[in-house]
Every structure is written in structure tokens, then in C-alpha cells.
Amino acid sequence: MIPAEFDYRRPDTAAEVIALLAAQPDAKLLAGGMSLIPALKHRLLQPGVLVDIARLPGLDQVSERRGRVRIGASVTHGALERSRELAELPLFAETARLIGDVQVRNRGTLGGSLVHADPAADWPAVFLALDGEARCVGPKGKRTIPASDFFVGMLTSALAPDELLLEIELRPQRKRAGAAYCKLRQPASGFALVGVAAEVSLDRRGRCERAAVAITGVNPVPFRAAGVEARLVGGGLDAVTLGRALGEIEELDPMADLHASAEYRCDLARVYARRALLAAAERAVA
């Protein structure tokens, strides 16, 4: 299928991108294009201008310094899968490997995935679980959006149409802490029927000091399971305790489609939350 006609721009600086977005209200940013281009081909979207930001300098960096992980918006899933900088944080490669397929991972970007805010995308769960921050720039300058404020609706992020995501910053817990991502893939598309990113920190006695559980694929907007997290603190991370803590996930507001009913998604959320927490706990003691 064929996209409608559009103009194509490839600015060299973020400032030019911002200026273009300001001047062209029907412009759309193009990064990896893995969601955008199929939508254009089916003419679900017909922007007047595509602004290609895949090559903006400085957005393809990954660094890990003093516990702070910074990932440029145009870093591809594939780069994160292979990243040497993040080799000691298996969460990233683990999540990346579960996205789409090799070819999609070689083009699709972390920034694109977050900003597109597909309710079944994977990175949003990681971004939420690790209390990430998104650095953006717009006509009024730079600002930082915390992950908790980032996803505002189905396919809608807090980024204004005239803003550009530059990078995200994450602070994974390091001391007696571990994180993991578990996912059930939709058999055709590979998107998440459910995806759970969990991070736990243990105290010296192996009890849960802090837990983060972020769930994607279930609600129209990815979310943190705050009630579950609160119930986990202070307890052990054994199956029984987990079962109790996960008995109810208060935030559930499930979607339903051909591949999973609302009921099934709710149950999957519980099962995968437990699996992710157990995997995270295992890494925490390792």
C-alpha cells in the first residue's frame, strides 16, 4: 500500500526541528518509522511534512555513569540489545530482544516507541518501572517529564506536538536490587498482550525494601501497580506473598481484542507481574 504525498525534511539540529514543527502544524516526526510508516501506508495518517530526526547528532548515545543510564531518543532497540554500556543491566537487552523482530529492532527507536505511546509497546513499562525522566525541547526551551506523567492516553504522550524528545534518563537501583521484563507476545504482531517490568530492592534479610511494577499491553495506558508495590514492601518475595500482593491490581482497566479478552489480560497481568518480580528478585540476590 502507498502513503499519501508529503514533504520530507531532514534538519541538522534540534533547533531546526523545533522551528519546522512550529511552522508546520501538520508535520510529523519520523525516527525509525516502524509504527509511523505502516500507518502512513494504510493512510491512517496523512501528515503534510515528515521531519526525519533519525540522524540528529547526539541522540544516538547510550551511557551509564554513577548509576544514571542515559539513552538518546534515536537509539534503536537493536543497539540496546547489543549495548556494551548496559551489559550489566540485563533488563535492557532482555526487553529489546522481545520487541518485534531483528529487522524492526534495527530501525525502531526507544524514543519513537515512548512518544508513540502504543499501549502494547514494551519500553513504556521499563521507563515507568525505573522512574525514568524524559528530556525534551520545544519552542519554550527544554523541560523534563517524569515517567509518571509521560503517558497520558491511548497513543498519547505528554510531549506537545511541537516538542522533541532528546533522551531519557533512568536510575536503576544497584544495591541488592534487580530488574526484569516478562512478556507474552501477540502471536502475529509480537506486541505485548502483557508486558511487566519489575524492579525490586531487598534489605539485608532478603525482604523487599522497594518494588516497582509497571504493566504494559493491558490498559490503554501503561501504568505502575502502586497498590501491589506497597503491599510488597517489607515482605519476602516468595510465591505465596507475591500471590497475596497480586491478588488485586487496583489500576486494571483492560483492553480487549481478538487476541486477548479483558478477563484474560487481567489474569495475565497478575501472572506476568509475579514472574517479573521473581526474576527481578533472583537478580537482586545474585
Partner: protein, 788 residues
């Protein structure tokens, strides 16, 4: 005796491959003709309704748009879309090339846009203003049979395409058996609708040459000769002016067996514009408007004796034909009737078949075409019976197998089976699988609460359909196949076959036959196919007939050539043909290698040269060395197999893992094991796909939920373990090759084998049989309801 490698039976790598692995294969969409225009269809966005308006004004205003055609342009110019299986003439309905006032299924072509390139054609198609007044639609086949349901055709108040009642004698025999039975078993068995999804979508290039008054159509088709006939009929042309070429065809699986409306329409447009035109289907069009497969619902009752003997089967089969009867669509379910008894001695069989119209895409052949549905049903009956009687499913099958000495065997389904050694295949599979070991391991796993299941399917199917007396006259061809063998002056061989392939490897297998016949190298044989101007006549590749019927035709032509070569050699060697012997490479005079000092021997190549040079004429013979042959199959072949698999289901999520799959198949003699394994592996996975994840889903308004590959799940490489293959060999006496057919064999039993394992895994929970596809949610739901 000259020693040389014999190619029949050897694992010879394919001669098709060098071009394909370098990206140099020529598929229909790869074709570019000077001045060629591109087409795009405007299709109905509703499953049912009345066309109020189709306005092309805006579309025609676009630069680069050449024409927009609707039904009004076709009126009186073309006939209905080809349909060779009109099951009940009193219920016949026409499928027009473009919708004529009413729309009856989602995606029905409304208009055709012709433009300078495909980008413009797509733009313009979206500019055609269509107004449709949506009408009530019916999607579910059982609902369609209810009274007061929306009608697909006004003229057919019951939405029935054909209703075939059981034969009275069969019915009487069944009733008798039921009366005498120790027990009966009732099952509803569903074979969901699936999409064939060849990797290459359909494509057509039509090129009318005004000067020559000649139409050439390149089609991604399994049946170029049938397409030629049908296009000529549809357009009212003499077939002398129509040439169809099937270039490289990127998979068919039955869905490129129908001759489609689009193929006729493009032909018409090219003739009208006197320019070449192309249409390449999109994947969404393919999922929506290329024929689907399966779509059957059985209500079956089985009568049995306490000892497990299956006495009789009766019931009703409701088959979805879709919104119109596709080329052979209406006839496909009759193969299910024919093959219902499987490889068992079933005393009597009586089914009613009801083909139903719904507001959905038409169904037609799909790998197995009616036989996997039968195998699925009878094997499910076996499993359920085994469970009910507490007999091991393997043992139950043994008790019911048709014995090897009972062939030819007339079944209650109406077929005459050629040969079979069902128990031998089963034993081999059990051995390879270590069935008793696997059962012990399963018991151990079950005691730990794990859901491990072992599945079994023993099956047979029908291949190489014949005789021609059973063919449908509207198909304009019998069930034979043709072959022409032309020996060049060098002794190199050109073969022309009507069995036009789409991935099967005829260029290799057929060259092997010629190589062995004449003692020439494989690379000195060229196999030509898929061009109706070059290959005199042909029927096509479907129903696992390539080697069985096409290969046999070739064998016959090779024998004719060899006989003529012998006559020539005999004359030149001053002897008679009956005194000659052919050692695979040379003719020599039996018992007298030398007579007067000169060696009395001629190679085949020398004979070929003499046949063309003709400086020493051979009395009673014409110059040259070639022959045409047609093989008419008087009976059909019945390959068979025994498959076993093991699965484990995740109790919490319903995720299923296939842990082992063992397949023992018997397709008679094999020309090239490498190709045969490829056919079997592909077929097995295609059947497993239906069981695991594939389903065409319409919502109640007739919209297609599975309109892209984001929702229609085609099996992926990660879903399967390494499949273990083994085989037995029971040749058929019905053709000189002893070959039984291989193309569909894998698909026949594999879907059921997997489902058998799934149900076995769930057996401790005492749940009712699960339907295909066993998506994670479906299994999760069963597990939950069982309180697992």
C-alpha cells in the same frame, strides 16, 4: 554394463535454486512492459448493501489517471467470473467481475482504476466516491441456515448453495449399524476458516496486442491452461488468441487454483485500452479477497461395539462457500465426504452436506482441500472413542485399521483405496517416538501436576484425482496431465509439462526422470512449464498430482521416445528392436557385442543425432525424436501416514509448547527424497499453523478482524521444534512410477495430531474437546473453567 549414478531416488539439489537464491527469479510483479499501466481496485467497505453511487469524477481529474471502470462498462462485454463447480444449477448465482448494484462481501470489487503508476492508481482509487447503503448481513454459517435470516441472494431464501442428502442405501446401512451398536458417540467438530497466505500475493499482467489480436496474460496461478480457457470464455475470445504464462509462482496452496475475476478483468482492460496493464494484490486484499480455506462444521455420530470396533458414521456437514461459489469452492467439501472413513473399516457412512452462502469471502481449495477436514473428524472420533472406552488410542486404531491384504478396498465413503500398510507406519512412528517411554514420562509429569499430552493421528488421503469422467465439464478439462519430450540433435532433452509448478520442484524431479530414461545428465535436460503457447495442453498443479499424474505422463512420453530411439538404433545397428538392449546410456545388440569386428553399440546421443540428421532414413519412421503423452488416471492414489507429537501446556497462561513431532509418511516411491521431505515439512507446519494460531475472523457486521499479518498469525520459525521424519514405502500399482502424491500429505494429519495432544494434555481435567486454533486464551479459559 555401464555404471552411472541413477538419479531417481537420489537427493539431488534443485535446479530452480541458482536463480532464486540470487534474486533472479521472475515473478509476475517483476515484469515491466513498455507503456504498462498499473491498476488498483476500489472495493466494498461493507459486507452487504446496495450501491447507491460510484462517482469517478474526482479520480479521473488526477494527472496520470487513464480510466476508471465500473460494472456499467462491462455490461454485455464479459461473462460472469469463472466457476467450474456449479453444484446445483437450480441454485446457480452469478459472480460479476465488478459489483452490479449489490455488494455481498467485504472487499468485493466495485471499480478498477488504471493509472500511470501504482502510486497514482492508489491515490485515484481513494478518490472514487462510493456510496453504499449498507444492508443486513449474515456471517455465521449456522445462522445463515436459520429462517428469517438475512439473505445473501434474494433468489435463495435459505442461503443454500447445495444440499446433498445421503444415499438411501447408505442411510439404511447406517441405521442398521446404529441399531446393532453397543454405543454411540456424538461430536460437533469445527474446522475453522483459514487464509492460505502464499508469500507472493496474487498478481496479473495483461497485454493485448492489437496487431496480432493476441492477449498474453501473466498470472501467478497454479493452472495456466485452465486460466487460458476461462479467460477466453469470459471475454468471448477464441482461445487461439489467448496465451497465459505462469512465471515464477510464489506459493499457491490451493488459492491460486481458482481463475479469478481480477484476472479476467485485467485482460478485458488491456484489450480495451490496447495497452499492457498490471495489478499486484496487496496483503490486505489477499487476506480479504483471495479465497479462504476450510470452514466446515460437522455434527457427527459414531456407532461402535464395546471392543472398539467403529461400525458406522452419520451426520451433517455444513460448509461455508462464502458470498459466491468460487472456481471449485462448492466441490471441495465433497472430498470430505469421500474421505470420512480414513484408514478404518467403517461399515457404513451417511452424511448430509450443506454448502452455505454467507456475506464473507468465498472459500476454495486450501492444501488438503476437504481431506484434512475428514482426517480431523475421524481422528477426533477415534480419540474420543478411545477415551470413552478406556482403550489406548493406539490400540483402538489398530483394531480398526483396514488390513494390508484387504486392498483394493472399497470404503463406505465411496472411495477405492489402492494400497496401504497403516499399521507398519504406525509401528515405525511409535518406535521412533518411544511411545511407551513417552507415556511413562507423561505419567511422571502428570503426577507433578504438569499438563503434558501425547497426540496421534493415523490418516490417509486421496491424490491425483481421476478419472476424467468425474471432472466437471465447466472446468473444460479432464483429470489427465500432459507431457512432451523433445530430444534435440545433441541428445539434450526439452520437457514440456502441463503440471505448472509453484515451488514443488518439477524442474528437478522431472529432469531426474528424463536423465534416467536416456542416460543424459540432469543439466542436459530443460523442463519448460507454465506457458500455454509453448506447452501444448495441461491441467495444472494441485491435489498432489504433480508427480502422480504429470510425472506419469512424462514417463509415458519418455517411453515413447525411447521406443522410437530403439527403432532408429535397431535400423542403424542392422538389427531389430527386440534384439536391442538399453543399458541406460547406449543401445547394444543383445548377445552379439561385436559381429564383424565393429562394435554394435550406439549411445542415446548418437541416436538423437541420427534422428535429426536423417541421412540414413529409417523405414516407417519420421525424422526427429519427440513424443507427447497424456496420462489419464483411472484410479486415485491414497498415501498415508502416522504422526505423533508431544506438547506441554502452561497451566497459568495457556501457552503451548510443541516438544516433539514425529512423522512417518508413505507416499509410495520417491523420485527425490530432498524434495519429498520439503513437501512434508512444509505441509506439517501448515497443518500445525491451523491448529495453533491461524483463523480468519469476521465480526458480526462482516468486517474482517484479521485483515493484516499483524492479526492473522502465520506460523513463525520459533514455534516449532525440529520435526523428526521417517517413512515407509508402499507403492501404488496405479501408475508406473509407483508414486502416491506428497504435496498435501503433511497437512492432512498434523492439525489433528496436535489437537489430539492438546486434548490428551487436558485429559486429567476432564474437559470437553477444545477447538482450533488453540490460542493461549482459549487454553487459559479451558484451564480456568476446569479449575486448574
Amino acid at each position: 554394463m555401464v555404471l552411472r549414478p541413477v538419479s531417481i531416488g537420489a537427493r539431488i539439489k534443485r535446479r530452480e535454486d541458482p536463480r532464486l537464491i540470487r534474486g533472479l527469479g521472475l515473478y509476475t510483479d517483476d515484469l515491466r512492459l513498455h507503456g504498462m499501466l498499473e491498476c488498483a481496485f476500489v472495493r466494498s467497505e461493507y459486507a452487504a448493501g446496495r450501491i447507491v453511487k460510484i462517482d469517478s469524477t474526482r479520480a479521473l481529474q488526477r494527472r496520470g489517471v487513464v480510466a476508471v471502470y465500473t460494472y456499467d462498462d462491462l455490461r454485455g462485454e464479459v461473462a460472469r467470473a469463472p466457476c467450474a463447480a456449479r453444484m446445483d444449477e437450480t441454485r446457480d448465482v452469478e459472480h460479476p467481475l465488478l459489483a452490479d448494484g449489490a455488494v455481498r462481501y467485504l472487499g468485493q470489487p466495485l471499480a478498477l482504476v488504471v493509472a500511470q503508476d501504482r502510486y497514482l492508481a492508489r491515490d485515484a482509487a481513494l478518490d472514487v466516491d462510493v456510496e453504499i447503503e449498507p444492508g443486513p448481513c449474515v456471517v455465521d454459517p449456522l445462522a445463515a441456515l436459520e429462517p428469517d435470516t438475512p439473505r445473501v441472494y434474494r433468489s435463495l431464501p435459505d442461503n443454500v448453495n447445495v444440499r446433498i442428502p445421503p444415499e438411501p442405501e447408505a442411510l439404511a446401512a447406517v441405521e442398521k449399524a446404529f441399531a446393532e451398536a453397543d454405543g454411540t458417540l456424538s461430536l460437533r467438530i469445527v474446522n475453522q476458516r483459514v487464509a492460505p497466505v502464499p508469500l507472493e500475493c496474487r498478481a496479473v499482467v495483461a497485454d493485448w496486442q492489437e496487431g496480432a489480436q493476441k492477449l498474453t496474460v501473466w498470472i501467478s496461478t497454479q493452472v495456466p491452461h485452465q486460466a487460458k480457457q476461462q479467460i477466453a470464455i469470459c471475454l468471448g475470445l477464441s482461445e487461439l488468441g489467448v496465451r497465459v504464462i505462469a512465471p515464477e509462482v510464489g506459493g499457491g496452496f490451493g488459492c491460486k487454483l481458482p481463475v479469478y475475476a481480477e484476472e479476467c478483468l485485467l485482460s478485458w482492460v488491456s484489450r480495451r485500452l490496447r495497452l499492457p496493464v498490471k495489478w499486484a494484490e496487496t496483503r490486505t486484499e489477499n487476506l480479504m479477497n483471495t479465497t479462504h480455506g476450510r470452514g466446515q462444521l460437522h455434527d457427527v455420530e459414531a456407532a461402535y461395539r464395546r471392543n472398539g470396533e467403529l461400525l458406522a458414521l452419520r451426520g451433517r456437514i455444513v460448509a461455508e462457500v462464502g458470498a459466491y461459489a468460487s472456481y471449485l469452492g462448492g466441490a471441495i467439501p465433497t472430498f470430505t465426504l469421500l474421505m470420512y472413513p480414513g484408514c478404518y473399516r467403517v461399515g457404513a457412512c451417511a452424511f448430509e452436506l450443506v454448502n452455505v452462502y454467507t456475506n464473507t469471502m468465498a472459500t476454495d481449495a486450501y492444501r488438503g482441500a476437504g481431506r484434512p477436514e475428514a482426517a480431523y473428524a475421524i481422528e477426533m472420533v477415534m480419540d474420543e472413542l478411545a477415551r470413552k472406552l478406556g482403550i489406548d488410542p493406539v490400540e483402538l486404531r489398530r483394531r480398526n485399521f483396514i488390513a494390508p491384504d484387504a486392498f483394493p478396498y472399497q470404503t463406505a465413503g465411496g472411495a477405492t483405496y489402492d494400497t496401504g500398510e497403516y499399521e507398519a507406519a504406525l509401528d515405525k512412528a511409535l518406535d521412533r517416538f518411544d511411545y511407551s517411554g513417552a507415556r511413562a514420562a507423561q505419567a511422571e509429569a502428570r503426577s507433578q501436576g504438569r499438563l503434558v499430552g501425547i497426540g496421534i493421528a493415523t490418516f490417509t488421503e486421496i491424490c491425483g484425482l481421476g478419472p476424467s469422467s468425474n471432472a466437471n465439464p465447466l472446468q473444460r478439462t479432464g483429470t489427465w496431465e500432459s507431457a512432451q519430450v523433445r530430444v534435440e540433435p545433441t541428445g539434450n532433452v526439452t520437457i514440456m509439462t502441463g503440471a505448472s509448478p509453484h515451488g514443488q520442484g518439477q524442474e528437478t524431479a522431472f529432469a531426474q526422470l528424463a536423465s534416467d530414461a536416456f542416460g543424459v545428465g540432469i543439466d542436459d535436460v530443460r523442463v519448460v512449464h507454465g506457458d500455454t503457447d509453448v506447452v501444448p495442453h495441461g491441467v495444472g498443479t494441485f491435489g498432489s498430482r504433480g508427480l502422480v499424474v504429470g510425472g506419469t505422463a512424462l514417463h509415458m512420453a519418455l517411453e515413447k521416445v525411447k521406443a522410437k530411439a530403439a527403432a532408429i538404433a535397431a535400423h542403424l545397428l542392422d538389427t531389430t528392436p527386440d534384439r536391442l538392449r538399453f543399458d541406460g546410456e547406449s543401445f547394444s545388440v543383445a548377445g552379439a557385442a561385436t559381429d564383424d569386428g565393429a562394435e554394435r553399440r550406439m549411445t542415446f546421443r548418437e541416436v538423437a543425432s541420427a534422428a535429426h540428421l536423417w541421412n540414413v532414413p529409417v523405414p516407417g519412421q519420421e525424422p526427429g525424436l519427440e513424443a507427447v503423452a497424456r496420462f489419464e488416471p483411472e484410479g486415485t492414489t491414497f498415501p498415508f501416514g502416522a504422526h505423533l507429537c508431544q506438547v506441554e501446556i502452561d497451566r497459568e497462561t495457556g501457552q503451548l509448547e510443541i516438544q516433539r513431532y514425529v512423522a512417518v509418511d508413505d507416499c509410495g516411491n520417491i523420485v527425490n527424497p530432498l524434495l519429498a521431505e520439503g513437501q512434508r515439512l512444509g505441509g506439517i507446519v501448515q497443518g500445525l499453523g491451523q491448529a495453533l494460531c491461524e483463523q480468519v475472523v469476521y465480526d458480526e457486521t462482516g468486517q474482517l478482524t484479521t485483515a493484516t499479518l499483524m492479526d492473522y498469525a502465520v506460523p513463525k520459525a520459533t514455534m516449532f521444534p525440529e520435526i523428526e521424519l521417517d517413512s515407509t514405502c508402499t507403492p501404488t500399482p496405479l501408475n508406473p512410477l509407483g508414486a502416491k502424491g506428497i504435496g498435501e500429505l503433511g497437512t492432512i494429519g498434523s492439525a489433528r495430531c496436535l489437537m489430539s495432544a492438546v486434548h490428551d494434555a487436558l485429559a486429567p481435567l476432564g474437559v470437553a474437546p477444545v477447538e482450533m486454533p488453540v490460542t493461549t486464551e482459549r487454553l487459559w479459559r479451558v484451564l480456568r473453567e476446569a479449575g486448574a
